[in-house]
């Protein structure tokens, strides 16, 4: 009998084996359930409806129409005159025409209330990359970023995994509609200090994910003051800025800076992307807009790891510099999202469910706390499982967003057709009726 000598297994790094990717959490478990049994309008009407993916599919037709009428965008024109240069272009500055188009688009979204300099735009392959990149630049391993809860579950992975930076939550609750207060920020800062973590910045998402609401002007002023006071950075993730239902309700940190004459601006950095507002997450287009020269230079160099395809830059430069297209898109998209939002709120209300008053985003923040057996995380997860397995809806439990109050859920409404949304609302209605009877 031969003796088997076991070869020592060749090892991997801590990063590779770490669980910080978080894919074992309920947020992602629901996706697995959906993948295994996805709803389809005709072929699988009893499948799981995906309401956990913040994707915008309501305005695809506008994109299609543009591309149909402007073949030069996707083919470099007849004979492909610009192709050679484009194919070889891997300069981390990015196409000037594309940066200009992005700057203009960002200005349009803010109703011209803020100006953006194309030379301060750094391009990345998605906002995911932009957020990670900024974290590498603003914080060292072991340092901390303060983030208001509830927040996008992906931050745990994107901001911490390879960077080894910590997140310290700023707790917000329903007593004031989850708004960020100076007291909460100070408490988080003290909490970090007591753990001997050096706070390097505060990261806000405005409009908020998962709340689906914009941050008010007064709160933005307080947040900026706090950052100045502690001498830390302020990252404003504004990827849903074009998805506010009414253009006047969104106030960007850029506007606050404008009114302050750009004093203290060198600590402010804005993240933007076309994944939500333009419904193009597959294109992988993100930006960092920084008022800090050193950050711009460093981010640009670091963007070598996450450049946007030159072909995609060319296509979007054409599309976004077409004023007629961009203005019409922003306006129409807003209207359709607003309509969807009204539809879901009405439907939920009919079923006896209240939501946080929202004004932006691709989702609503639903309050199911009255249904919980006990006001605990465990009860919330139990309820989530029931909704996933019996009602066959994948929604995101508040605990995966680190919400300190159990019972809240994020429900996406823009990644499906109106008919599918109707079906989902019917299922919820039925579920609530059943519970009332029992």
């Amino acid at each position: 009998m031969a003796i088997e000598i076991e070869q020592p297994r060749v090892g991997l790094s801590k990063v590779a084996v770490s669980k910080t990717h978080g894919e074992d959490s309920p947020y992602f478990a629901g996706w697995k359930a959906y993948d295994e049994n996805p709803y389809h309008e005709t072929s699988n009407q009893s499948g799981v409806i995906q309401m956990g993916l913040a994707e915008n599919q309501v305005s695809f037709d506008l994109l299609e129409k543009y591309l149909e009428e402007h073949s030069e965008a996707s083919s470099w024109g007849k004979g492909a005159p610009g192709f050679r240069e484009n194919a070889l272009f891997q300069d981390y500055h990015g196409l000037k025409s594309f940066r200009q188009a992005m700057a203009n688009f960002m200005e349009q979204i803010r109703g011209g209330r803020a100006k953006f300099d194309p030379d301060r735009i750094v391009l990345t392959a998605g906002a995911t990359a932009a957020n990670e990149l900024l974290t590498f630049i603003l914080a060292d391993p072991g340092d901390a970023l303060l983030i208001p809860t509830p927040y996008y579950p992906g931050f745990d992975r994107d901001l911490r995994w390879r960077t080894s930076v910590n997140i310290v939550p700023i707790h917000c609750d329903s007593s004031n509609n989850f708004q960020i207060t100076p007291e909460a920020m100070e408490a988080a800062y003290q909490s970090a200090e007591s753990m001997n973590l050096k706070v390097r910045g505060i990261l806000i998402t405005n409009p908020s994910n998962p709340l689906g609401a914009t941050i008010q002007r007064s709160a933005l002023e307080q947040i900026l003051d706090f950052a100045v006071n502690k001498n830390i950075h302020l990252v404003s993730d504004e990827i849903y800025s074009g998805s506010t239902f009414s253009s006047s309700e969104f106030i960007s940190i850029a506007e606050i800076l404008e009114t302050r004459g750009y004093k203290d601006a060198e600590r402010v950095h804005i993240v933007y992307s076309l994944s939500k507002d333009l419904g193009l997450p597959g294109f992988r287009v993100g930006t960092i807009y920084s008022y800090n020269d050193q950050v711009v230079t460093t981010a640009r160099r670091m963007s070598s790891f996450t450049l946007i395809s030159s072909q995609t830059q060319h296509l979007l430069a054409c599309m976004l510099s077409n004023k007629e297209f961009s203005e019409n898109y922003i306006k129409t998209n807003r209207e359709r999202l607003s309509k969807r939002y009204d539809m879901i709120i009405k439907g939920l209300k009919k079923a006896g469910i209240e939501c946080l008053k929202g004004n932006a985003g691709l989702f609503c923040w639903m309050n199911l706390s009255p249904l919980l057996e006990k006001p605990t995380r465990e009860s919330e997860l139990a309820l989530w499982k029931v909704i996933l397995n019996e009602v066959k809806l994948n929604i995101s439990p508040g605990s995966s967003c680190h919400c300190s109050e159990p019972g809240w859920f994020r429900v996406c409404f823009a990644n499906m057709s109106e008919q599918t949304l109707e079906i989902a609302l019917e299922r919820i209605h039925k579920f609530m009726e059943q519970r009332k009877r029992n």
């Binding site: 060749v10 590779a16 004979g79 391993p141 939550p169 992988r284």
Partner: protein, 540 residues
């Protein structure tokens, strides 16, 4: 005790999930500190003394930081959040510290302007090497036969323009349908929504087929073992993150591609150990040299996690033969380390030598497959660097799983994938392209080498890549890096020719230069030779 206080304070997890471990954090401090002491005094003294110094420094700083009335900001590296005086001194990095050490200490804080992280603040000043300066000069004053005949001719960029016309012609006819329709009706929903971050399966299939064609069908690639990334640059970085911890090291034969210093080391905190190759062996990799470097690293307390080879190599253009690859695998097995094989120029071979992929070597050797990882991309072989398509190909499921998740930070763009699926599936086009491209590369290579030889400049025989590796040591004023850079400067500013000096590639012998020929036309070659001749004044 300060020591335990350090461990407790550096590794807390405010969130419920635990990441790495406190031990790892401690190692991140100890290892670079050992590096500072250069291992003298051995492992024990080499770690205790710097550690003790470090802990005392920490203790001293912490005491200062705790004092709320302390307005003394200029000389300490402590953070004092209440200081807002605009005239407060800028804090600079403590002098004499290596980047890894400064990262381990409390980051120096500007109590005036808000500071960026220590891990990047040293890099901001980068970009001064001849490699980058040369590229900049060409950008500012590019040669054009008609519009700018006195401009700088680019021989410093390993890009291939020789066969772009073939790609362009294909695209002019097929692009629009390729991106949106593939013959069906226009559909944005095919490219707009979220796709798997590691690439569309259809695209992986197309790329796997391309890789196989490029390597003369000697090996077939399984699309399920692929992770696609936005270029080969993040592919290398992701592998570096997956295979090594901060403070660990990879062995890399020199001379090597200057970009590795950024891709392998920058954000990962991983080190590169140079394994010198010499002209006496035509700069071929020697396993004995690998072994020596491995042992030296061990003595310094550096843990080697793998070897990174480039095949065809850059800047020399060597191919690694079958025997060397087998020996390399033996070496990796013996030391229980990984092999990263960067094969992005596999389709850009010219001449008669056989290209052998690492994938071919492990095909038969089952047990060692888990330690082999191949990097590929379309930037070189298909001349599409702008489109950002890189590949990690691995036999190791754990690496595959981790790399898949990490690809979210560097994903390829969906419309680009769609376009290339069509292009790469056109096997007739691919076949024509590969053959024609090789012929054109061969022709240019021969002409360039012959031209240099006429001036007494000999090159190493190269079988791949867009460049030749030439010996100009006979023309440098002093046999040193200084002499070499002086010659580079003359070539750039007097001759108006941008070439890459060997020191940028960490070549151990001075006087070697890389001349890229694939951005030139045949008409440019005599012009280039003339300009070089102007500069040369043989020494002795």
């Amino acid at each position: 005790m300060t020591q335990t206080r350090y461990y407790r304070t550096r590794s807390p997890e405010p969130e419920k999930e635990k990441t790495g471990g406190g031990g790892g954090t401690a190692m991140r401090v100890i290892v670079p500190l050992q590096g500072v002491v250069q291992g003298r005094g051995g492992l024990v003294l080499g770690s205790i003394i710097p550690c003790a110094l470090f802990y005392f420094l920490q203790f001293y700083l912490k005491r200062n930081r705790d004092d709320p009335d302390d307005k003394n900001e200029s000389n300490s590296t402590s953070q004092n959040p209440t200081i807002r005086s605009p005239s407060s001194e800028h804090l600079t990095e403590l002098p004499g510290l290596t980047r890894s050490l400064s990262r381990a200490l409390l980051s120096p804080r500007n109590s005036g302007p808000v500071s960026i992280s220590a891990r990047v603040s040293g890099i901001v000043k980068g970009g001064d090497s001849p490699y980058y300066m040369g590229l900049k000069r060409v950008k500012e004053d590019p040669y054009d036969e008609l519009d700018n005949p006195n401009g700088v001719i680019q021989l410093g960029l390993a890009e291939n323009k020789l066969s772009l016309d073939l790609v362009k012609d294909w695209l002019a006819e097929n692009a629009r349908e390729a991106i949106l329709g593939n013959g069906k009706e226009l559909s944005v929903s095919g490219i707009a929504p979220y796709q798997p971050f590691d690439g569309l399966m259809e695209f992986k299939v197309a790329v796997a087929g391309f890789m196989s064609q490029v390597m003369e069908n000697a090996v077939s690639f399984n699309p399920s073992q692929m992770v696609l990334t936005a270029g080969a640059t993040p592919a290398i970085e992701i592998l570096s993150f997956c295979l090594a911890d901060t403070g660990n090291a990879f062995l890399v034969p020199t001379p090597y591609y200057p970009g590795f210093d950024r891709d392998v080391k920058w954000r990962t905190g991983v080190e590169i150990i140079h394994v010198p190759c010499r002209s006496a062996e035509n700069f071929h990799l020697s396993i004995a040299a690998l072994d020596r470097s491995f042992n030296q690293a061990k003595k310094r307390g550096l843990k080697v996690r793998g070897v990174i080879i480039s095949n065809p190599s850059n800047p020399v253009g060597n191919l690694l033969n079958r025997e060397t690859l087998y020996s390399l695998l033996d070496f990796a097995r013996e030391k229980n380390i990984h092999i990263i094989s960067n094969e992005i120029l596999a389709g850009s071979t010219h001449g008669n030598e056989e290209f052998v992929s690492m994938a071919e070597i492990v095909d038969q050797e089952d047990t060692d497959r888990k330690r082999v990882h191949i990097v590929y991309g379309l930037s070189k072989d298909l001349s599409l660097p702008g489109f950002r398509v890189g590949v990690i190909y691995t036999f190791n499921e754990d690496v595959l799983a981790a790399a898949r998740k990490l690809s979210r930070f560097s994903a390829t763009s969906a419309p680009t994938q769609r376009l290339l699926i069509s292009m790469l599936s056109d096997t007739k086009f691919v076949r024509t392209f590969i053959t024609t491209n090789r012929e054109r590369l061969q022709r240019m290579y021969v002409q360039l080498v012959a031209g240099l030889e006429k001036m007494g400049i000999k090159s190493i025989k190269s079988s791949g890549g867009f460049y030749c590796w030439a010996d100009m040591s006979g023309f440098i004023s002093s046999y040193s890096e200084k002499g070499e850079v002086e010659l580079w400067d003359k070539l750039l500013n007097i001759g108006k020719v941008n070439v890459t000096p060997g020191s940028c590639c960490h070549c151990i012998e001075p006087g070697w230069f890389r001349f890229c020929f694939a951005t030139l036309t045949e008409k440019d070659i005599p012009v280039v030779m003339e300009r070089i001749q102007k500069v040369l004044k043989p020494v002795n």
